[in-house]
């Protein structure tokens, strides 16, 4: 196979996944899809941490991944609750509808 350094390969994969998530969040209007896109991006960041951890032979990257995991779990639970409320209030999942606060 090609002689690519594993760190470079892993990091590039993380970059690709991150950018895909970013594209997705930019083009979607559906709130659940946007949440999914955030998950993709978080996962890509976690991948980058794992790759870095193995690159430097240090546990810190993996520790960071665990924190990302915890954060993702909390984010999803709160995010889903918010989406639920919005859906009840606005009867739609369109994120553009929730723009009345101009914030």
């Amino acid at each position: 196979m090609m002689n690519i350094h594993p760190t470079t390969a892993g990091m590039t994969l993380a970059g690709i996944l991150f950018v895909l998530g970013l594209i997705s969040i930019l083009i979607r209007r559906n709130l659940i899809f946007m949440l999914l896109s955030v998950e993709i991006m978080l996962n890509a960041a976690g991948l980058a941490f794992i790759v870095a951890s193995s690159h430097w032979a240090q546990p810190d990257g993996q520790v960071m991944f665990m924190f990302i995991l915890a954060m993702a779990a909390a984010e999803v639970s709160v995010g889903l609750a918010l989406i639920l409320q919005l859906f009840h209030q606005l009867k739609t999942l369109d994120s553009d509808e929730a723009s009345r606060m101009r914030g």
Binding site: L22, I25, L26, I27, R28, R29, M34, S95, D96, A98, S99, R100, M101, R102, G103
Partner: protein, 629 residues
Amino acid sequence: MLYLIPALPFFSALLLILGWRTFSRTTVSVIGCGSIGISALITLAQGWQFLQSGHDSMVQHLWTWVQSGSFNAGMDLRLDALSLAFVFVITFVGFLIHVYSTGYMADDADYGRFFACMNLFVGAMLMLVLADNLLLLYLGWEGVGLCSYLLIGFWYKDPANGYAARKAFIVTRVGDTAMAIALFMLFQYTGSLQISSILEKAPGMWTTGHATVVLIAFLLLGGAVGKSAQLPLQTWLPDAMAGPTPVSALIHAATMVTAGVYLVARTNVLFDLAPAAQTAVAVVGAATLLLAGCSALVQKDIKRVLAYSTISQIGYMFLALGVGAWSAAIFHFVTHAFFKALLFMGAGAVIVALHHEQDMFKMGGLRKSLPGVFRVFLIGSASLAALPFITSGFYSKDQIVWLAWSSAKGHTAYWVIALAGAFLTAMYTFRMVFLTFYGSYRGHAAPHTPGSSMMIPLYILAFLSTVAGFVELPHTLGHVTLFSDFLQPILPAVQMLQESTALEWTSQLLAAGLTFLGIYIAWVWVIQQPDGMRRFAEMPFMQWLRGFWYKGWAFDELYNELLVRPFVRTARLNRRDLVDKVYTTLARVTEWCHDALARTQSGLLRWYIMGVLIGAVLILSVLIWRIYI
């Protein structure tokens, strides 16, 4: 004790300002009149003590007001003969006017506000005349200006009154500015604003007629002219009649407008050193007394007649000051304060009796319905017209007429003008009396007799305006010099050019004769031949002249054309202020930036993420550019 004289009115003014809405009318009356009354009593006690002590002056240092480098202005009160005369008049006449006001203003909703302003005014005026340094004097000077503004515009709901108040304030401001410059110059040259030290130093510093002292004297005259409504700043006083009548009596007759006389008399040393300025004082006085006398002759409003007569009488005082007859001027001030306050309050009684009717052509015949008012008004008028021998006005005015001719600085022309003024005074005064009290009643509302609170002050003043003259009698008639002796330590005696009893007799008889002639002409004009006079008055030239005089020699129009219009035009040219443009542009740019930024706050989540993305791209670009290229 001395400090109590101005402190009491100030304190009661403060009390009334803070609490007049909660006080009952009785409380307000007690506080308002009581404070002035106690001040008057203290003045008596203090004056007695002062006369007993035999000192020339008495200074009370309260505290140091301003201390900066070599400049030192203290809260120092100074009592000497000149200020005692003024304080006496201010407190006593002020007190009588206050008592009168309780009747006159009884139905006014802003009763307390009125007394607050009046007390503040009395306090400021006392501060003015008791001040030992010019800065404190200026404080009082501006204080009375402020109160004058407040009281002229007392019935502020009518825009015309507000306009009159602003006019008074702005016109006097012209004089005040001149006076302020004079104070600056005095401090620059003498290093002090202490009146006594200035007057001591001045003769050593400047020779007679030195340009600096002449300039200072002229600037002081400017201040005096503004406050005393003399030519060319006299236009505000007739309009100031917009205020309640007690205000006119207190401010525009008895006290405030004589502040200019006080200032000139107080700084008499400077005027002695500046003959040009002193001549200007005399010329201003002479011109004003004629001008105002003519205007008073054709007025319809009873208060405006009195206003013009005030201007004219202060013109007499200025004439006396100008010829160096200092004590004569002050003497005339005292008698004038009594009879003019009396006249104004009598006019006020008439106005109230006729339900606020001020037009004399709607009065007439009030002799029968208001006999009390008629009697005191007649006494006041006789005094104003200088009816010989029995009125105080005769003695004070006669002294001025005689000294205008005979003093070292006098001139025959002054004498002629003074005599003409005496003639005019008699004529317009009795025209007013005849129009108001004789003939038949031309109004509609039934007159009602004013209450005792209004009448008692009138009786007291009528008494005073009769007897006040006997403290100073001319050579030819008893030769009493109580008043000028009293003022002797402060005001130098007049230097006589000629001392001729025969000439003095001639002058007095001529003045007396002219007075009677004036009264007779007024009689003919109003009572005997009104139709003939009307035909005479309706001749084209006379009609024009009448209109011209009615408008006060068209000074208002002149100033309007000369000053107001060009100013308004200039202001209009620069309506979009050029300097302002810079700031408006700044504001506009900020606003524009705000709009641009606010547009990004769309609430659309994706655009925010787009912003983050663009930012990330930019930061990474910069990073790459910095590290690798």
